[in-house]
């Protein structure tokens, strides 16, 4: 059960400073748009928070292009719109300078092959809900989420997009409860990220063979291959202590889609 409210709050309130720039090719007219800065929540998704940015920059671009789907890139890498912003940031931002994260906004030339188009918010919502269901299946065989009513699903989504901690966690609490037989989840919903932006998802159990609660140590060992060793995890912008219990981590450090998104550091053997 997610008892540690303080941790939960700190996770929820995590923000990133982003500096949006316009694509120089797309600018029409003599005026140069200034950079648009914005503080965005780590747990949210790019299409949800960038309405204002779109409006700001649409003045400077050609009229016919302003209706298209907006996409962003960082250093030439197009950003996946269905990843949480915190994940994208931890994954892609290499250097750690004191500047806001500079992204470029594009109105045209959507890279169809690398990105999934999320035109409207409803598509993103259905993706979010599918993630939740997947996580619940892993944790509780899907019983909790299917027992919930539609309005509770809506409450989760509206709590996320409106930044309402209490509203979201009123429902999410139930998803974070351990299973009926054991006091852990059945499996931990977890995704491992490496340097490139594809993730790996394995079936991870919260308990060791002996029945003790798994820590990250055990996890490290688990995902290490003979070729390379996993040495550290990173999530929410912090390196996690290796003694942290996995079950606890899943309860507290999950993203709103109830998954743990961990960046793994490898070392070659």
């Amino acid at each position: 059960m997610a008892q540690d409210r303080e941790i939960l709050r700190m996770i929820w309130e995590g923000q990133i400073a982003i500096c949006f720039q316009a694509d120089p090719d797309e600018i029409v007219g003599l005026q140069q748009p200034e950079n648009f800065h914005l503080m965005v929540s780590r747990l949210s998704y790019l299409p949800l928070v960038t309405d204002k940015v779109k409006k700001f920059f649409s003045r400077f671009i050609a009229n016919d292009q302003s209706d298209g789907v907006v996409w962003f890139d960082y250093n030439g890498i197009p950003l996946k719109l269905h990843y949480p912003i915190g994940v994208l940031h931890d994954l892609l931002r290499a250097e750690d300078d004191n500047h806001p994260w500079s992204l470029t906004i594009h109105f045209s030339k959507f890279p169809e092959d690398s990105l999934v188009k999320f035109d409207t918010k409803d598509i993103l919502e259905s993706f979010f809900m599918s993630c939740l269901k997947e996580a619940d299946v892993l944790k509780h065989r899907g019983q909790v989420i299917s027992a919930m009513q539609k309005k509770e699903h809506n409450q989760l989504w509206s709590g996320l997009i409106n930044d309402k901690f209490d509203q979201f966690w009123a429902v999410n609490r139930r998803l974070m409860e351990p299973g009926a037989e054991q006091d852990t989840f059945k499996h931990i919903p977890i995704r491992f990220y490496e340097e490139d932006s594809a993730y790996m998802q394995k079936l991870i159990s919260p308990l060791t063979e002996t029945g003790q609660k798994k820590t990250l140590h055990d996890l490290l060992i688990e995902i290490s291959t003979p070729v390379r060793n996993a040495v550290g995890f990173r999530t929410h912008g912090i390196d996690v202590h290796c003694d942290t219990q996995l079950q606890w981590m899943s309860e507290h450090l999950s993203y709103p889609d109830n998954f743990l998104h961990l960046l793994v550091f490898y070392e070659n053997v």
């Binding site: 700190m10 996770i11 400073a17 503080m39 004191n98 806001p100 929410h236 912090i238």
Partner: protein, 401 residues
């Protein structure tokens, strides 16, 4: 286990805080402000655009109004004339309004003057009122004072009335006392009179007894004398001729007898004179009795034979002599115009006083009943009264010629 949990939990929290400090705090406020400013700028730009568009429209409208373009120009001309008419009308209204404004300001000035005058009048009235009030206050104060003085006077009056009644009561009490005292006095006087009468009676009795004795003696002497006829009747000489004796009623018949008597009778008189005025009546009776006695014994008058006292009273003749009713004093009047008082208590007469004031010889003297006044008549047709105590002339009466 618990401490391990705490440790990784704490490290987790620390790292989260560290992350926030690094990533969140530097940018949050600034980005917020920046966005607000951008919004403002956008808003202002939009407004600016709107205004410039309007401006352009106006200018365009104005510009197109000036150009001549067929039907446009006619309309424009009509519009112009209409506008000019309106302008004229407006100007007329304006002049009208100016005139009215002037009139109104004039009215205002007049009204201001009137208001000032009214205020002056009001001030005067107020000052009058204040004076009246002060006068009123003074009068009220006077009334108050008068009332208080009236009260005091009433009180005084009351006290005086009370005192008066008290005095009346005292007076009545004193009157009663006086009456009582007078009663007592009367009673006492009566008693005194009674006692005196008793005394007088006693004295009379004594006198009578004495006289009887004397008469007896006289009788005896006369008898003896008769028996011894060679004894002669002594003749008394007196210097004074008798005119009037004091205080006796039947003096005429008595004159003859007076020559014969010595001062013994005077002595008897003196004894009998020990009384006051009202007792004079008493004198006559014993003397008359004496006379009777003497009349009885005139067959053999026992004349005094020896002279008791002899003295020169005056330089010239002495015409009048009188005994004082109260004391042993003799008054003599003579041709030397003086009245002399002689004290005859002792063996020789002592001159006591000389009363002068008459311009001719005294021919009669008399005492009053109390013996305090002496009157002397003289040959200068006048009478004079002296006081015996201090020998001063009191009354001098002379008929005018």
């Amino acid at each position: 286990m618990a401490s391990d949990e705490q440790e990784w939990r704490l490290s987790l929290m620390r790292r989260l805080a560290e992350r926030d400090r690094r990533e969140v705090t530097p940018f949050k406020e600034i980005i917020l402000q920046n966005n607000r400013l951008l919004d403002n700028v956008a808003q202002l730009k939009a407004d600016n655009l709107k205004i410039s568009v309007e401006n352009e429209q106006l200018r365009v409208a104005f510009a197109t109004g000036g150009k001549g373009n067929g039907k446009d120009s006619n309309a424009a001309q009509i519009a112009i004339t209409a506008l000019e008419k309106k302008l004229l009308a407006q100007q007329e209204e304006l002049t009208d309004l100016h005139k009215r404004k002037g009139e109104n300001s004039q009215m205002i000035v007049d009204l201001n003057l009137k208001v000032e005058k009214q205020q002056l009048i009001v001030k005067e009235k107020e000052s009058c009122l204040a004076e009246q009030k002060t006068a009123n206050n003074i009068l009220k104060a006077e009334v108050q004072m008068l009332k208080s003085s009236l009260e005091e006077l009433k009180k005084l009056n009351n006290t005086l009335l009370d005192e008066h009644t008290a005095l009346q009561l005292a007076f009545s009490a004193l009157e009663d006392k006086l009456r009582g005292v007078q009663e007592e006095n009367r009673c006492l006087l009566e008693r005194l009179m009674r006692y005196k009468s008793k005394d007088a009676d006693k004295l009379n009795e004594e006198n009578e007894s004495f006289l009887r004795k004397r008469s007896d003696k006289l009788k005896r002497d006369l008898e003896d004398a008769v028996r011894e006829p060679n004894s002669t009747l002594p003749r008394l000489t007196r210097n004074s001729s008798s005119h009037s004796q004091h205080g006796l009623g039947d003096s005429d018949s008595y004159d003859n007898d007076n020559d014969r008597y010595s001062s013994d009778t005077g002595g008897v008189d003196h004894c009998q004179e020990a009384g006051c005025g009202p007792e004079l009546d008493m004198f006559s009776s014993p003397n008359s009795r004496l006379r009777d006695v003497l009349c009885h014994s005139t067959t053999k008058p026992d004349n005094p034979s020896t002279i008791f006292m002899k003295f020169d009273a005056h330089e010239n003749e002495s015409h009048a002599v009188r005994w004082s009713p109260i004391e042993r004093v003799l008054a003599t009047g003579g041709a030397d115009r003086k009245v002399k008082l002689w004290d005859v208590g002792k063996a020789s007469p002592e001159p006591r006083a000389v009363l002068s004031g008459s311009s001719a010889g005294i021919n009669s003297v008399d005492f009053d009943s109390t013996g305090s006044y002496i009157i002397g008549t003289s040959n200068d047709y006048g009478a004079r009264v002296w006081t015996v105590g201090d020998n001063r002339l009191r009354v001098s009466g002379k008929p005018e010629k």
